[in-house]
């Protein structure tokens, strides 16, 4: 096998997040709940957010999906807890630009934390939607217009 190719996508960090996802649970006091589906594969994400004073006080997700979608959701929840709505939406944009191959500064990518490692998805166009589904759910739950 072209193990190097597969290693590129499935880095240790990604596999670890997928096996032991962070914040994969329901929230007791969610201020918003969003469900998004990936119609091509049937993956589903239910995202629950607790917004307090314009900040993401807590966030959790449930649903099912592939390694990439699960690890992406896990990394996203880590990244946005404690951030303001505006910062979270900016991160969603940085992530989207990154996997679509648009140039962003290293400082921008650093804001994503572990999620920056998913830049490798760029080389696997068929899998971009797997990585971005949770971020679209976040955008929607923070009030952005998102096509279901």
């Amino acid at each position: 096998m072209s193990l190097s190719g597969l290693n590129n996508l499935y880095r240790e960090v990604i596999l670890d997040h997928s096996e032991h996802p962070h914040h994969k649970h329901n929230l007791e006091h969610a201020t918003d709940k969003v469900t998004l589906k990936n119609p091509t594969c049937g993956d589903v994400i239910n995202l629950e957010v607790n917004l307090v004073d314009g900040k993401v006080a807590d966030i959790g997700f449930t649903g099912e999906g592939c390694t990439i979608s699960q690890s992406s959701a896990s990394m996203m929840t880590d990244a946005v807890i404690g951030k303001t709505t505006a910062d979270s939406l900016e991160m969603a944009q940085i992530f989207s630009d990154m996997v679509m191959g648009k140039k962003r500064s290293d400082a921008d990518l650093e804001k994503l934390g572990d999620a920056a490692i998913l830049s490798s998805v760029m080389q696997f166009p068929a899998r971009i939607k797997c990585a971005t589904l949770c971020w679209w759910a976040l955008r929607k739950s923070l009030g952005e217009e998102v096509d279901d």
Partner: protein, 409 residues
């Protein structure tokens, strides 16, 4: 037989390439087949020599294009043993064919309280047109259950098809479970209650001999692109008396008889259903694909694919963690094997296989009610065709084992 089929591979130039630095193994034939050089050449020849609009141009090229287009219709007629060539309507594909029947025959013959019978194994294209027709007409959509090993439950079919049934719409072969359904028997059940039977032949016509008179189907739909022909050409077969009684599907050029300011009359079948400029090159390509398949022999193709499935199935089942959906033996199986690897999402599996050059489909296969019925989100699917070999299957098995190792599942 093997030697003959090994040579076939050389007719498909696309197969001679590397993907991710590995030789391409194309196992996504249920989605679309590759095209032999003969079909590609035929379409180029048509465009280089004879291209013109059909049935209206009073010049030599127009005559030639019309003649070739109608000759292709004749080839389809023979291939599926329709009684007359006018029972063959060219469409964009299976989906278009089935929508045509729902929008014409269905619209005219289904009323509130009537029943339409489908099965849990229908592709969305043989499900949504009927689901929406039922909603429009306040009719009831009924599902035939499946047996434990994923075959159509014929006893349940007998219960579900009743005097209230107007349409029975069933796949001739499943694009997920690898089973061929007894359409002849279902046609008998439908006709017993004066219902019509519509068969979705998309996964059957490319792989086995199909005789629409013997099956006694009222309508039969299939696509060219799954049987070596280009995309964008398909067929709706319909019994001539039914087609004659139906209203046109679309209105416009070519399908008319006389057009007055406030009313019009329609031309004969099949042209009544072929409004506007048609996909002439596609039809000619389909005709050539039929020549190619006929030369090999549809029975030989069915047997060769059975041999591939016989080889692949036990090897797949031997891998710990692999679940195969549908019958677990090769009896009643066609060249489609859907499977899952425990603790690995099919999308991850498909990406891993792709890195080994193996192209399979992963997803719900446009059969979401079936996925729910099987209690899975999605599956991986390997589907074979005439140019596949046992070596391709070896590569698939090797790649699955590789993926298992990589993901430690």
């Amino acid at each position: 037989m093997d030697n003959k089929f090994l040579k076939i591979r050389n007719d498909f130039p696309i197969l001679n390439q590397k993907v991710n630095n590995e030789p391409l193994v194309y196992l996504d034939n249920a989605a679309t087949s590759q095209k032999p050089q003969a079909v590609l050449d035929e379409m180029v020849r048509y465009y280089q020599n004879d291209n013109a609009n059909t049935h209206r141009s009073v010049h030599t090229l127009g005559e030639r294009a019309t003649e070739e287009y109608e000759a292709a219709r004749g080839k389809v007629q023979k291939f599926i043993n329709a009684k007359e060539s006018r029972e063959v309507i060219f469409t964009k594909g299976t989906t278009d064919s089935l929508n045509l029947v729902a929008a014409t025959y269905g619209e005219e013959n289904v009323s509130a309280g009537d029943e339409i019978v489908v099965s849990y194994m229908e592709h969305h294209s043989n499900l949504i047109p009927w689901q929406q027709l039922a909603l429009r007409k306040h009719a009831t959509l009924k599902y035939i259950e499946l047996t434990a090993d994923g075959q159509l439950d014929m006893a349940d079919a007998e219960q579900k098809i009743t005097v209230k049934t107007k349409i029975v719409a069933i796949a001739h072969a499943s694009n997920v479970l690898g089973v061929t359904n007894d359409i002849q028997k279902l046609a008998q059940m439908a006709h017993l209650h004066n219902a019509v039977i519509v068969a979705d032949g998309a996964q059957a016509v490319p792989h086995q001999p199909v005789d629409v008179q013997n099956l006694d189907v009222d309508f039969y739909a299939f696509s060219g692109h799954k049987m070596l022909a280009p995309m964008g050409i398909g067929v709706l077969y319909g019994k001539s008396d039914l087609l004659k009684a139906m209203s046109p599907y679309q209105y416009g050029g070519e399908m008319i008889d006389f057009v007055e300011k406030y009313q019009s009359t329609w031309t004969d079948i099949p042209w009544k259903f072929e409004a506007g400029t048609q996909n002439v090159a596609g039809a000619i390509g389909l005709g050539k694909a039929i020549d190619y398949l006929t030369e090999i022999g549809m029975q030989n193709i069915a047997e060769y694919e059975k041999h591939l499935v016989e080889y692949a199935l036990p090897k797949l089942l031997e891998i710990p963690g692999v679940t195969v959906y549908g019958p677990q033996n090769q009896i009643n199986r066609n060249a489609v094997i859907s499977f899952n690897l425990k603790n690995l999402h099919p999308h991850d599996l498909a990406t891993a296989l792709d890195m080994d050059g193996v192209a399979v489909r992963a997803g719900h296969h446009c059969a979401q009610p079936l996925m729910k019925y099987l209690n899975v989100v999605a599956t991986a699917r390997a589907s074979f065709y005439i140019y596949n070999t046992v070596e391709d299957i070896d590569q698939l098995i090797y790649a699955i084992k590789d993926a298992k190792e990589f993901f430690k599942v």
